[in-house]
């Protein structure tokens, strides 16, 4: 599956060492990466990704009141819980046959845009960049740091940091200028979020049928002043990211192979357009394409579909290496969708969760994560899609689809153009993101900062639309409804780090089946029943190692960069051991950089 071509010439006899990082913690579950590294040839030969935590939302949601689903599923995650609430609201709206009033839809969009601004900023600048900061580079690739000292930043005129080494120093945890500024910005963006959705990260004003936010002019002006305040930071961040990542390719030739895999991307779309969306399944193709981030699937650089109905019907939950008993012999919940299309037994609507705890065995079953795949009717393959950490797939699909056209963000000619207005110190700026040649760690990271700009541009558009409604006196933000005894619904959204779907079946007015599928099951899935590795495994396997340290002082920074490029929530603690269980470090917190490496 990996696109990486192995350099077999002049290969030395292998010196395979087992290396494991467990847990690379994230909010939901415990992620572990188990690798075998060939130090003689500086390559990862094998990788397994595993989760040691069972959550069971699909088990305990059964029998609950469906109106509670948004509040309960929000607790799946402590950093993007609002994405779950939003997705649940979308699924419930479909199930109850209602739509949010337009003003409520703009408010949700504004809240979600603030969430993207917040989360991408804090992840990129306070977590991803720890792997690229001066302290880390000095400890892993001193030659690169020496070169960075002598390399001028091409875009220093925008971000003000004269050399690439100055950029790296600004990324140093707790001390660096960018690190600290990002913390300040993430507080402002959280305030923006709270203005719209009441509370971060579990919204208090988001319900099926609308919101409880009072659409006063001051709510929107408070949001706007905060947004304008961070625009300088966003513009500088894009320039700074471009400088750093362009330098990385120059300084370490071949680095494009780190975290590289086939372009297999999924995006389920974000930001509904209230003039089109009615949440009826029968019209899902149309309102899906009207979303301000286009849903779609990209395979090998080609856009396969933008049809949410097709995307929905192609989802398959495979087992193979997961601690679950199969459910195919159970009675299906949904045999046909509302359009009459057959629904597969492996579709989330029909899934029943039967946990089977057992010992971890990398030859057999080794993870609590199932293996979500997308069945491509054309090729007959079950594709192990990844989300590219979220922004990469969102920008890729939106660029290729060319359906988004707003005053601040447009998708045309295979690229996304973002126009940000003049801000406190910087003039108006046009940014352009085009699909890069590779799906690798650097490009996933680079896309993240461009999506911050995308979300800022979209927020400006949503504000203008919302203010127009306020000026017309429209203050309606909720719709009443009854919960039908028997109904189904599905919601598609983009969690910050990628695709998010909620599938619900209601019987006797209660939840009979509920399956949320967030991005990390897609990205962190183990080998499926066909033996296809999940995206983390695929991206890390056969990856070259550029770190200058040998096995004794190995930090695994290249592997970490590859895994973290997928945004596996908060990588805040890493346990690392070498060979036959000899512990090198019992606690490894990458936030502390070199001194604690």
């Amino acid at each position: 599956m990996t696109a990486t071509e192995q350099m077999r010439a002049a290969e030395k006899p292998g010196q395979i060492v087992e290396m494991a990082w467990d847990p690379i913690t994230r909010i939901i579950g415990n992620l572990g990466i188990y690798t075998k590294i060939d130090f003689a040839n500086r390559r990862v030969t094998e990788c397994h990704s595993t989760s040691s935590l069972f959550r069971g939302y699909s088990v305990f949601m059964k029998g609950k009141d469906p109106r509670d689903a948004g509040f309960i599923t929000s607790r799946i995650c402590g950093i993007c819980g609002d994405n779950h609430t939003t997705c649940s609201v979308y699924a419930q709206n479909m199930a109850y046959g209602i739509a949010n009033p337009p003003m409520a839809e703009w408010i949700i969009n504004l809240g979600e845009a603030a969430e993207y601004l917040f989360d991408h900023t804090i992840f990129q600048d306070n977590l991803v960049f720890v792997d690229f900061c001066e302290a880390m580079v000095k400890a892993t690739n001193p030659g690169v740091l020496a070169r960075a000292e002598a390399t001028a930043s091409p875009r220093a005129g925008v971000h003000g940091l004269r050399t690439i080494a100055d950029i790296m120093r600004a990324l140093n945890p707790f001390e660096g200028q960018v690190y600290n500024e990002a913390l300040r910005v993430s507080r402002i963006t959280r305030e923006m979020f709270c203005l719209m959705e009441g509370r971060h990260v579990h919204p208090s004003t988001l319900y099926p049928g609308g919101v409880g936010t009072m659409p006063e002019p001051s709510v929107f002006t408070d949001y706007l002043t905060r947004l304008m305040e961070i625009l300088d930071f966003v513009k500088k961040a894009v320039a700074l990211n471009d400088d750093l990542f362009d330098f990385w390719y120059d300084a370490l030739p071949g680095y494009e192979e780190v975290g590289r895999r086939r372009v297999l991307l999924g995006c389920w779309g974000a930001f509904q357009d209230p003039s089109v969306v009615d949440y009826r399944y029968e019209h899902m193709t149309d309102w899906g394409r009207a979303m301000f981030v286009t849903p779609g699937i990209v395979v090998d650089g080609k856009l396969l579909t933008t049809d949410l109905v097709k995307i929905n019907l192609g989802i398959r939950i495979l087992l193979g290496s997961s601690f679950y008993k199969d459910w195919v012999n159970e009675e299906p919940f949904v045999e046909r969708d509302p359009l009459g299309n057959p629904v597969d037994m492996r579709h989330p609507w029909n899934q029943t969760t039967f946990p089977e705890p057992q010992k971890r065995d990398f030859g057999e079953k080794y993870s609590w994560v199932m293996s979500p795949r997308w069945f491509d009717e054309g090729s007959g393959e079950h594709l192990a899609l990844d989300t590219g950490g979220g922004p990469f797939a969102r920008l890729y699909v939106t660029a290729l689809a060319g359906l988004v056209d707003t005053p601040y963000v447009t998708a045309r000619d295979g690229a996304v153009k973002i126009s940000l207005p003049r801000s406190r110190t910087l003039p108006a700026m046009d940014l352009k993101w085009s699909p890069p040649a590779w799906s690798n760690a650097i490009e996933r990271d680079r896309a993240r900062v461009y999506f911050v700009a995308y979300a800022a541009g979209m927020a400006l558009h949503f504000l203008e639309r919302a203010m127009t409604r306020v000026r017309s006196g429209d203050t309606r933000t909720f719709t009443d409804f009854e919960v039908p005894d028997e109904t189904i619904g599905c919601g598609f959204h983009e969690a910050v780090r990628g695709v998010l779907s909620h599938h619900m079946v209601v019987r006797d007015g209660k939840i009979a089946n509920y399956h949320p599928y967030p991005p990390t099951p897609w990205n962190g899935s183990p080998r499926d029943s066909f033996g296809t590795p999940g995206p983390y495994e695929d991206a890390v396997q056969n990856m070259p190692i550029f770190e200058e340290n040998g096995p004794e002082s190995f930090k695994g920074v290249d592997v970490m960069r590859a895994v973290r490029s997928f945004d596996p929530c908060l990588p805040c603690g890493v346990h690392m051991y070498l060979g036959g269980g000899r512990t090198l470090r019992t606690v490894h917190s990458p936030m502390f950089g070199a001194s604690h490496g």
Binding site: F60, K64, E216, F354, P357, R471, T475, D480
Partner: protein
């Protein structure tokens, strides 16, 4: 739950969701029942206050009626 042994539940899974007899916010007709909310999506000052709301409406009919919070 396959081979996992679990005890009898103490309460119904939806016990906390709704108490019979209490009006549900989502019930049909809720919007119309709310004071100051008009069917066309606009509202007047009665949405926010019951104390002389008419005096808090805009002085010109051409202005949008935006209740003060």
């Amino acid at each position: 739950m396959a081979p996992i042994r679990v005890g009898e539940p103490d309460v119904r899974p939806d016990a906390t969701a709704h108490v019979r007899g209490v009006r549900e916010g989502n019930a049909l007709g809720s919007y119309e029942m709310e004071p100051g909310h008009h069917l066309d999506g606009t509202a007047d000052a009665r949405r926010s206050t019951g104390i002389r709301p008419g005096e808090r409406n805009p002085i010109s009919p051409s202005m949008p009626n935006l209740p003060p919070g």
